[in-house]
């Protein structure tokens, strides 16, 4: 899934997931089976291992399953269900594995459509709605929680992250200020500086967050703050500092698909494709990471390119088959940087921009517009960025290039 930076880990970190709407391409691609399927076969021995279940490698999964099995689905107990749902949501986020979100939904099924569920359940439901790409529903849930629990820091943090992803920096900032008042500390500063850095205050935000992150803090928060710091530094063009921050965040050992993706993008932007491949060694399950590996392989003419490229095509096809176009940004990047189809990339990037407006979303659209020789398509995005006063060296470079084309 197109990973988004998780919201602040107050209590537990959460994730957001990017959405797309089924486009015309969904109608076009009618497949019998996914294009990656081979023919059905009969295994030769009873001992042949067909599948390695997630429970094999991860005790968290075993524990979540054990608790899920113990649930009484006929007369559901909100506390018990919530406990299981939280674990599944955490697993879904950290592994970028949407099946866990599905299982969380299954556990919260009695409350999924309830107009007024208990606030704690509503918070998980908001996270699941985001994962389902129902941004309006997620915001509605978060607003409702805050009416009952105006001091719930996690709800404010979730809201801020969502608003930032949608490009409403002013509202995100307001939410972060609430966090600051309720729970001053690194989490609040990171929340605030993240939003402000996109709204014309990049350098002051960096300085403030760097100072705050220097103080000791617990690991998930620090790692999250360092990720944001790295992103702001990247946008300011200070690649050396950005890399230092990403490495430090990785050093804490927490598994974070989003962070790996951000660092890989930094390396790719600096034409260090080989290092990007090394960084993502073994990372193939999460679509976003395989995509970056494939982009790196494409640039280096790596022999593994064909297999990875086919795998990604198969994954996008599988998603289109089920009517979900959840990876529009990734699809656009794939079309642009691997398949060499700038027009199609521009179309995908434009559809993506209608749904979310982060710097990465702007970047792929501007690059596609440039490659497709269609600077007029970039105009609304450039206008939007100018209005928000977003500072980003990559976007600025693209803007100058597009200006050169259209004049």
């Amino acid at each position: 899934m197109s990973d988004a930076r998780p919201a602040g880990p107050f209590g537990r970190a959460r994730t957001a997931s990017r959405a797309g709407m089924p486009g015309l391409a969904a109608a076009v691609l009618l497949g019998l089976i996914t294009s990656a399927a081979a023919e059905p076969y009969l295994p030769e021995h009873d001992d042949v291992v067909l599948e390695r279940l997630p429970a094999a490698d991860d005790p968290r999964v075993r524990e979540a399953r054990r608790l899920a099995r113990a649930l009484d689905r006929q007369s559901p107990d909100p506390e018990a269900a919530l406990e299981v749902a939280r674990r599944y949501v955490d697993l879904g986020r950290s592994e970028a594995d949407p099946r866990f979100f599905g299982l969380a939904e299954g556990v919260l099924a009695p409350w999924l459509d309830a107009p007024d569920p208990p606030p704690a359940i509503r918070l998980e439901r908001a996270a699941l709605r985001r994962a389902r790409h129902d941004f309006d529903g997620a915001l509605a849930d978060l607003d409702a929680i805050l009416e009952v629990w105006p001091k719930d820091v996690q709800a404010h943090l979730d809201r801020a992250a969502l608003l930032e992803a949608l490009g409403d920096y002013a509202a995100a900032e307001q939410a972060c200020i609430r966090v600051l008042r309720l729970y001053p500390g690194l989490v609040a500063v990171a929340c605030l500086t993240s939003a402000r850095s996109l709204a014309g205050l990049a350098q002051p935000s960096y300085d403030a967050l760097a100072a705050a992150a220097a103080a000791p803090a617990d690991d998930p928060t620090r790692s999250w703050a360092l990720t944001i710091l790295g992103e702001i530094a990247t946008r300011l063009g200070d690649m050396a500092s950005a890399e230092r921050h990403f490495r430090e965040a990785l050093g804490s050992g927490a598994r974070d698909v989003y962070l790996l993706g951000a660092y890989a993008d930094l390396l790719l932007d600096q034409d260090r494709a080989g290092e990007a491949l090394d960084l993502l060694e073994g990372e193939e399950r999460a679509d976003g990471l395989l995509l970056r590996r494939t982009i790196a392989a494409h640039r280096l003419d790596d022999p593994r390119l064909a297999a990875w490229r086919d795998a990604i095509r198969g994954r996008f096809a599988a998603l289109r088959q089920r009517g979900a176009a959840t990876h529009l940004r990734d699809e656009a990047r794939f079309a642009l940087e691997v398949e060499d189809q700038p027009k199609r990339a521009l179309e995908l990037a434009s559809r993506n921009w209608a749904l979310q407006k982060g710097p990465a979303d702007a970047s792929v659209l501007l690059q596609a517009a440039l490659a497709a020789g269609a600077p007029e398509a970039a105009a609304p995005v450039l206008a939007w960025l100018a209005d928000k006063r977003t500072e980003d060296v990559v976007l600025e470079r693209l803007r100058r290039a597009l200006d050169g084309v259209s004049s």
């Binding site: 691609l29 399927a37 059905p40 291992v49 094999a56 099946r99 599905g102 060499d340």
Partner: protein, 365 residues
Amino acid sequence: MGWLLAPAPVAAHKPSDAYLRLELAPDGSHRGAIDLAIRDLDQAVGLDGNGDGLVTWGELKARHGAIEAYVAARLEVGGEDGPCRLLPDEHLVDEHTDGAYAVFRFGLTCPAPASAIEVGYDLFFDLDPTHRGLLTVDQGGEVTTAVLSPERPHVRIDAEARAGIGVAGFFGLGAEHLLFGFDHLLFLVVLLLPAAHHRAGGRWLPVERWRVAAVDLVKVLTAFTLAHGLSLALAVTGVVDLPTRLVESLIAVTIALAALDNLWPWLPEQRWRIAFGFGLIHGLGFASALGPMDLPAAGLALALLGFNLGIEAAQLAVALPLLAMTFPIRGSTLYRRGLLPVGSVAAFALASVWFVDRAIASGVR
């Protein structure tokens, strides 16, 4: 063969899907197969007999009865005369992008050959509401697909609707791609600028009768459609596979050459030949917009037919007004010294710009 297939990358993460295929025979002897992710089945009926986190073929075999019962309880296929009976056939294994699936093949005995069948699907939804059943129904080569979800657990497939769903969608897609493909549009306009004329002795002479002009127009358009239909089919089925950048550059070249021909006739006299030759290239351009298509031959043929009809319809919508405009002024000085040369030069210039743009890599790193 066994477990070692062609080198497959590590399985992806994706939401939960099952693949249900039904083949409906006219005499009521239907067959089906359902691909169920081993991961999903393990949640639903339990597969890991020894609890070591690995599912072996032996463990899966031990649960085949449970799988059959699970499917029979939650999958209903029926017609107007009542439900069909599910007859287990064989169990196999298959690979999809996200791992191994159990393949359960079965026969269906239905009360009477029905013109409409209903499918009711209720697998896994209670455990995972994001699960989807991806249904493909094949009725003698005509393919219908549907996505079954908790919001839409039933689908009805009937005789009249099935052909329409696919073809109508592709018709719209074809029309849209022509109308929004400015290079294809421009080529058509350039080709049809001299629409109400024919060439004789190196000059454009007006055609006297509307009917002749119209017939010529249809010949040109049909030749174009046949050509791009052919190359589209070849490209979509993978027989022809040229890089997009090359195709896009060549399309610009076709426009430039056609524009040049308007001013200094050098291409064959019969416009339909030009339309056919250059149409082959434009068809490859359409293919890159369609993307890969993975249908059985009959379904693919219908889809392409719909797509090409859509393009043809859009072409007519562009060409007929063009002819109506140029016909009254055919042979006039306004046309010969004004519209034709100016339009052709402008098109040539634009096409040249596109060619340079497309042939040379552009992009910022």
